[in-house]
Amino acid sequence: MRTSDSNSPVSAVQLQQGQEQYAAYFEGNSDSILIHDDSGNLIDANHEACRVLGYTKAELLQMNIADLEAGLETISSQKDWANFLKSNSLILQRDFRKKDGSSFAVEIHYRGFDKNGEAFYECTIKDVSERNLLRARERNRARVLEQLAGDADLFTVLHSVVRSIEEEDPTSICTILLYDKETNTLGTGAAPSMPDFYNEAIDGISVGDGIGSCGTAAFSKKLVIVDDIGTHPYWAPFKELAFKAGVQSCWSQPIISGTGDMVGTFAIYHHEPRTPQDADLQRIAYGARFANLAIENRRIRAELLEYKNHLEQLVTERTIALVHANEELEAFSYSVSHDLRAPLRAIAGFSNIMLEDYSDKLDDDGQKTLNTIVSNALRMGHLIDDILSFSKLSRAEKINTHLDMKSIFQNVFDELMRQEPKSHKVSFELGELAPSNGDQAMITQVVTNFISNALKYSRNTPETKIIVSSETNDNNTVYSVKDNGAGFDEKYKSKLFKIFSRLHNDKEFEGTGIGLSIVKKVIERHGGQVSAEGTLGEGATFSFSLPNA
């Protein structure tokens, strides 16, 4: 492994550093530094290295770098050295064992240098166990979160939590017990490394002072440390069971929810009596928090699911109620259409018989009275018809098709003009209308209403002029019908589209006050809007919009 190339960085390092400067750098460094020779024998170690590893300098100088390695790998793998020789810089990840036997993860930064023609290696050793732990936790947390995001049940998630904490200390066994408030007992949540007989025996143990580590922790809501099961009074009744399962220490941390409720316990067991170190205490607290996260999440998920089911059931119930109400409404309108019409027909019919058969016995007043009866019966008939078509509209299914708006307007106008008195002169100006989409029958009804209104309210205008146009905007197309008829007072505009509201009396213009409310209903069902502008005595413009396809 010696390098004899005088241009290599090895000699450059040596040249750059004077002896004194290097000594200051060596001892003053906050990282552990070891120097070994070509064979790996240690020839120097700084104070920090001695402190961290737990050996005296003298002890270390008797050792080889390979003696410090806890793992099976050795530093001098061919590949690592090949890289090193290329760049004179090498970083290795290793596990080192301290004098006390405990191991920790290190990152070794290698630098080679040449001294009196011999190659030496400077190893700066950084303790990366903390960093590795955090990384592992991050990884494990991500896995559990993924499970939580999916459909995994609570026990599967808790299993992962336990496994991830056990991974941090492979000599430990972790368990999670879940608290049952009703029975004040603890049941197995996850204990994959415990034998089944142990889990079955522990399942359902009572919560109480002095009942094992977990029962006591759940009772006191405080961390319970039993470092020797064999001698601790809490474990007296369970001692044999614990020994059979091969555990001799048990530390138990209560899991407490964000709202302060007892949720369960998180426990760490070891195969031999053991007192927790800082890292252990930190780990058990972390385990309990991690378990709580999973338990809370599943609880909320279960609640949401229950709420969702409740809502679905509610929707079903409401739907049934609505269907029922709708059926009742249908039955009602059916009887309205049948039962209310019949007496009206009788009133009108028999009044007519009276007029036909007894006209010689009736004077003008009598005849006029009977005519009033007839015309009111007819008016009520129209009202019933309009109310029915209004309620039918809400029930009717909307069937969307392409609508040739121009021909709809033209056909409606032609049809209405056939019923119009010959004396009524009308000029009809129909622009190029944009086509649309909607229910043919419903939109035809709207158009019929607009055109018949234009005709009706311009009946007293000598030269009636009706102009139909359309304007396409970004989102919709507006169709307008303009007339030069009676118009209306803008003051009452808000009443125009309200059911039963009228701006004229029957003597001026007959009507039931339902037509425009039908229009509004139809257009709103199509996702459009209705509007009107008018000037009393000068005419009105009624418009409806339909969304663009």
Binding site: H338, A342, L344, R345, A348, G349, I353, V374, A377, G381
Partner: protein, 145 residues
């Protein structure tokens, strides 16, 4: 066969007023001499099928005017029995009703009704409707022998 001398028209209508108006209109235009008026569906079936207490065997009118909403047996049920009877199925049946419900109209046609007329409220319209149907079914139309 003891077939009763049948009337030209059988009118099944529970409302006396409507019956009076119908009969008046038919008579006014000299469309009929003879009309039998029954007030409910069961009566109509008994009369037509000879199952009633009157012990009348089958009666076959030229035309049956049938209301929908009838006591006991409704118009659609009467229609169904008429149209599934060998002896009566060719007799024209006209529904005359106040109901313009689409379901009723569809059902009536499914059962084989010959016409469906919604009775107008105004007497002029009503009389005109009765006149037209009388003219068509009693005079213009050629039934099978």
């Amino acid at each position: 066969m003891n077939i009763k001398e049948y009337p030209e028209v059988l009118l099944v209508e529970d409302r006396e007023e409507d019956a009076t108006l119908t009969i008046r209109a038919l008579k006014k235009y000299n469309l009929i001499n003879d009309i039998k008026w029954l007030e409910d569906g069961q009566h109509a079936l008994d009369y037509l099928f000879g199952t009633g207490p009157e012990k009348v065997l089958q009666a076959v009118p030229k035309l049956i005017l049938l209301d929908l909403k009838l006591p006991r047996v409704n118009g659609l049920e009467v229609l169904e029995q008429i149209k599934s009877s060998e002896g009566l199925k060719n007799t024209p049946v006209i529904i005359m009703t106040s109901s313009n419900e689409d379901v009723d109209i569809k059902k009536a046609y499914d059962l084989g009704v010959n016409s469906y007329i919604v009775k107008p409220i105004d007497f002029g319209g009503f009389a005109e409707a009765v006149k037209q149907l009388g003219m068509y079914w009693l005079i213009l139309n050629q039934p099978p022998k």
